[in-house]
């Protein structure tokens, strides 16, 4: 699914990325400000897909993005493909 672009909680449209749902393959575009954090992207995408309460991580290529980092700090740029992955915590 390529739905309407999601806006993060901070108003602004400096970067547009595509987030992929690792569980379903669905995608959504998200508009971000440089000040937005990776955590906000995770929560925005998880909320959009109405995910169960659980732990999630976000990857860009082969790099796991650190939650507290901003878009600017994590090197996220326009047209990047990101992937939302549930963090397996069962044992």
């Amino acid at each position: 699914m390529n739905g309407e672009p999601l806006e993060s909680s901070v108003i602004g449209m400096s970067v547009r990325v595509r987030v992929r749902n690792a569980e379903t393959g669905s995608t959504v575009d998200m508009e971000l400000e440089e000040e937005n954090t990776v955590q906000e992207i995770i929560e925005g995408a998880a909320g959009y897909w109405e995910k169960d309460a659980g732990a999630y991580v976000l990857r860009k290529g082969k790099k796991l993005l650190r939650g507290q980092q901003t878009v600017l700090e994590s090197g996220i740029s326009n047209s990047d493909d990101l992937e939302l992955i549930p963090d397996p915590e069962g044992g």
């Binding site: 169960d52 732990a55 991580v57 082969k62 796991l64 650190r66 549930p86 963090d87 069962g90 044992g91």
Partner: protein, 266 residues
């Protein structure tokens, strides 16, 4: 005087085939003290792999009891254990001892938060076979504090992960966590106020994924204790069982993570 050999003698050594791998230091494994935290599905598979690999000194920690829904993925548990609500760690210790009578296993029936820090300190290595963020953070902290390698595994349905932490170098489990992890942690401890009562959502779990993840965990242990740290996973391995794809994700060390810096002791 010449050495005396007998035809077929190698077949009397239970670890002969392991020795033939070459790089596996079987004697070192037999001397090592390993702490396994969690005696559930991953714990069952990990302990089986450890014992068959030649480990002789294990400590198991788990406060939980066997229930029937465990039986789709726990080799050492059976209906009798479930009916009797036996402690998982005790059943697992008995099962492992039956695999090899030379194994010495101590079962600690308690929450990992209640384990004496000395248990971490006297262990050569720790295996995380846990099912919640809080316990992972606790084990991670002890391993970082005492400088003990931690090989953590996790599963969710047909996906799984393995992360190797080699203090003081490199990222730890906490470095890979974000606010969603802490929200889960808060939710699990907010139900009744009682210290050990928490909301536990039922997660999908099955044996094939558990077997894969446990096998990778123990293989990393073999490397660490056989002087092969350079061949270990450097980052977080993510496994997708539906496609059988693995992806090694680079985990950046978090400069704000409390587990790094001058607090680590050798």
């Amino acid at each position: 005087m010449n050495e005396v050999i007998r035809p077929g003698a190698e077949d009397e050594d239970r670890l002969d085939r392991s020795r033939r791998v070459g790089w596996v230091d079987v004697d070192r494994l037999a001397r090592s003290q390993v702490l396994v935290v969690g005696a559930g599905a991953l714990g069952n598979e990990v302990v089986k792999n450890l014992v068959l690999s030649g480990f002789r000194h294990l400590t198991l920690v788990d406060m939980d009891r066997v229930v029937r829904s465990n039986l789709n993925r726990c080799l050492f548990f059976n209906d009798t254990d479930a009916e009797g609500r036996s402690f998982k760690a005790e059943v697992l210790a008995r099962g492992a001892a039956a695999l090899d009578p030379d194994v010495r296993i101590e079962a600690l029936i308690c929450r990992v938060e209640e384990v004496d820090p000395w248990v971490f300190e006297q262990s050569d290595l720790v295996l995380g076979c846990l099912d919640n963020v809080a316990a992972r953070l606790h084990v991670n902290a002890h391993c970082c504090l005492h400088g003990r390698p931690l090989v953590d595994g996790g599963t969710l349905g047909t996906s799984g992960k393995v992360q190797v932490v080699l203090p003081p170098a490199g990222p730890c489990l906490q470095c890979a966590m974000n606010r969603t992890h802490y929200r889960v942690l808060e939710k699990r401890h907010s139900c009744t106020g009682a210290e050990t009562a928490f909301f536990e959502p039922k997660m999908a779990a099955e044996i094939t994924t558990t077997s894969v993840i446990a096998a990778i965990q123990v293989r990393e242990v073999l490397k660490i204790l056989s002087g092969q740290r350079g061949r270990c996973l450097q980052h977080l391995l993510h496994y997708d069982g539906l496609t059988n794809r693995t992806l090694e994700l680079e985990v950046p060390l978090d400069p704000n993570c409390p587990m790094h810096g001058d607090r680590t002791v050798a």
